[in-house]
Subunit: 223 residues, 2 copies
DNA sequence: CTTAATTGTCAAAATTTCGTCAAATTTCGT
DNA sequence: ACGAAATTTGACGAAATTTTGACAATTAAG
């Protein structure tokens, strides 16, 4: 179970995040002060969510300090959005940047991505087998009889979502929300094109179609 | 997959709740106004989270109104805590009461409890067995002895509605409203045709007629 | 039995939705 | 900054569904 340290001075926000992360299978710790955060470093968190706008602490300096203590990914939570701030963040040891107001899905998605990508964390594979197809969500690779089938980011994200919810039908709107993010704006018509490319790649190699179109409703991954 | 309708005028809150519920495996819909909420009733939510303190709506009256439309559990979200308010809530058709500020875990726990308790909803809305016929509303599939019977969107929607209200007679006008939506304009005569096609497909595979015509009134799903 | 009202049937028209393609735009690595 | 890859957009035809309307069949009532 991954441990996640949340550092923010707003108790309501940390509390909500804690709840959410716990429900998602993580083990969260909340620190509403820098002092408390330092204490909790002893728990050896696998990832740190850090608000860099805390009133009585210089978040960037704080980040630089704990960077000396831990090697895990550090994700900033902040209202600042200027590019300079972002650069400062990365310069001081941050790995990612999430601006408030954020969606919980965005947070969990990024956390999952960081934890997966992080080589230091275990290399346990989430491996799904579907009709001779092997899909590894941790390395984001798809294989068929030893051969690797390459997919772009979006393509793989769609496969990921559909295959982990195999059998369920999703409207294009919902699929779009799930992959692009809740707040994302744009036309869910792009999905058509991605689905086409996914289908083509899979068909070329495996000779079969793994995605079913439910006419008038959406798509689903064949079970 | 359970559908949950969230009615609250604070977009940030509904958005967070949506994220969380989606991550927990539910299918949330958010409505930031009473009007939108009414529209989304057509999605047939399995549970409704309702803020009764919305500025431009009388939450209690609103609750009473939708109670006429749905039978699913309705859980209030509110800042009010007086006993009288609570009683008013239950009097007007509410099933539970969660006071702000709440924890996400509390919300999900209560939702899970209600969905569990609502046995009829669970069995009726997810997987129905009727005369050897298995209807799965989440994958939108109908099976008979291992064989799948394909239906178009409208056809399935009609089956969905009739079978979840099996035994009840519906006038064509009422059926049309239920499937096409309250605001839909058009002729309810189309139903005749859809009923015919549904009957034909079912008859071809199963050899029996699941829909009964109540002369001068409408149709009903044989129990 | 006859009639009026209601429902069932059928084929064709109208509409909606989907798959495809090429081009435009953005992103990314060098 | 440049070129390559990925993503997005828009248009179009094809395919499937939905709707329509005319007509046949059935039912209830007198």
């Amino acid at each position: 179970m991954y441990k996640i340290l949340i550092v923010d001075d707003e108790p309501m926000l940390t509390s909500l995040l804690c709840d959410h992360l716990r429900d998602c299978g993580y083990q969260p710790f909340e620190a509403n002060s820098a002092r408390k955060a330092f204490e909790l470093l002893s728990e050896k968190p696998d990832l740190i969510l850090l608000d860099i706008n805390m009133p009585d602490t210089d978040g960037l300096e704080f980040c630089r300090t704990i960077r000396g203590e831990v090697t895990c990914p550090i994700v900033f939570l902040t209202a600042r959005i200027s590019e300079q701030d972002m650069l400062n963040g990365f310069m001081n040891g941050g790995d990612d940047y999430i601006t408030k107001p954020f969606s919980l899905t965005e947070v969990t998605a990024r956390i999952a991505a960081h934890l997966r990508r992080d080589e230091r964390t275990r290399t346990n594979l989430i491996n799904i087998n579907s009709g001779g197809l092997s899909v590894d969500l941790s390395t984001r690779t798809v294989g068929y009889k030893g051969e690797e089938i390459k997919f772009s980011k979006r393509e793989f994200d769609i496969i990921d979502f559909l295959i982990t919810n195999a059998g369920q039908v999703f409207e294009r709107e919902r699929l779009y929300e799930a992959v692009w993010g809740l707040d994302a704006e744009g036309d869910s018509a792009v999905i058509k094109e991605h689905i086409r490319k996914i289908r083509k790649k899979l068909l070329d190699v495996t000779g079969s179609d793994f995605i079913e179109t439910v006419w008038g409703v959406g798509y689903k991954w064949k079970k």
